[in-house]
Amino acid sequence: MSGVRAVAAWPGPALVAGVVAAVAAGAPAGPVLVLGAAVAPLLALLQPARAAATRHPVTVAIAGLVAALVLSAHLAALADTAALVGARRWHAIVLAAALTLLVTLMPNAGRRPGLAPLIGGGALLLVLVTAGASTGLAPWGAWAAAAARPALVFSGRSPWVTDGERFLRRTTLAFDEGHRVVAVTPGTFRVVEADEGRRVVRDWRLTGGDALTLRPGDTLTAEAGSRLRFEPGKRVPGAPASGSAWADAAPRASPTRSLALLATLVLGACALVPVSARCTTAAAAIVLALSVGATSWGVYATLASPEAGLAGSPIEALLSLPRVVPPSAHGLSAGGLVAVVVVGLLALFIAAAEGLRQVVRAAAGTRWPEVWAVAMGAAALIAVISIVDPWTLLMAGLGLAGAALAAPRLAAGRGAGRRLGWPVEVLGALVGAGAFVALTVAKLPAALELLAAFPVLVAAPLGFAVVRALHATR
């Protein structure tokens, strides 16, 4: 298996958008996310060689569920892209799912495994270079310029100021200074006022053109689909206070959350990236491009459009860069560059889907060929009805993969035998998956919030321990 094919399942649209958005927003976990997204698949390539995968209906079901969750994350990212360019979400989901099923089920599918990642990466690189050149700044120069801003404010050219933009998901904004927002379309907005230590909740029913005045300390909750217009020159709600705060947010990251994020990424990669890659140079080049490219994209995005992220989707940061490119930039218009981004994301989705199909195939063999189509259908359904953002779905998929596929497999090594009539690895997978689902749906106390956010921290060690314990009892 080539290196390109081995890591093809990794940099899908949801992961790329998530990394770019974290950098653009100055998220404290940004550096850990960039590093983890690049190093995790390479670490997975170093897994020990193992016997053929245990073929069992339970393993097939878990692999199918993992594929459905990860695919739904990528489909949700494509749906957000469609919504931000004015198309319908479900159109994008159905079209992308149908096209990808067609491509991956063609008789010659997989003959050119490097084509889709090459198109996807090349398209995004073209936009990044064009947009970077239009600013006249190298990525490190853009970083320094972004860090030197006294405040992150709405520019007069921002679509959030000129026409108003739409919230893709229910979003709560915290205001640090007085701000007058205008409803573009009718909607209900919840304002929580901080009044001398008391919290006063008011629901406002606004029609198009109505204004709402917010004071420092207030929060505003906008429902999905509502549109607002902001004032130019005012601080972006929820953004770091200044460029310096944006640049220095990372050292304030919680070490435990950083470790939990790394565990999710590494175990997820161990489940999705196959061991038997021959040419690792290509794989190394891909993840290197991911780390440098996504970081540069995020830096240019925050410099050009610090409000990218208000809509409630990481895709907004990805699309903000081509949207601010001046019309004369190398003959490519902003609309043309957005189209190139859309093509790039679709190609990355097809590449990721082909990689996930290999994961399902490794679990199911040739006995259940319909599992892949069912996983894609389930992913489309999840993406249509889901109200959470693509990143949440991706973390769920990677976490489940780590707990129920990677941990039992690493514990079993070259085979752990059978107990109670079942393969030990399958019993470990059942325990890992059960613990993951239980922790995900359970209402945990606030003190265990970390486990609710990263269930893999408990589920993976449980799956691992069960396999080791059963293997030791002869």
Binding site: V32, A38, L43, A250, T295
Partner: protein, 65 residues
Amino acid sequence: MAADRGRRIAVVVFVFLLLVPPLVTVLPGSPGTMRVAGITLLWWYAAVVGPLAAALGVVLARAVR
């Protein structure tokens, strides 16, 4: 046997590479906030040095096999 040893060493090195940012955040004096060419050390490491070291590491580990 030598190949397996090389792989194990590479895994340990990779885990260390991943643990550097969380470790840096708890060190006194915030060394991660020092700036080189305008960018903090932590970001240089996370976006360039760490991934580059990992890329070289995986190529070397595979070459030993």
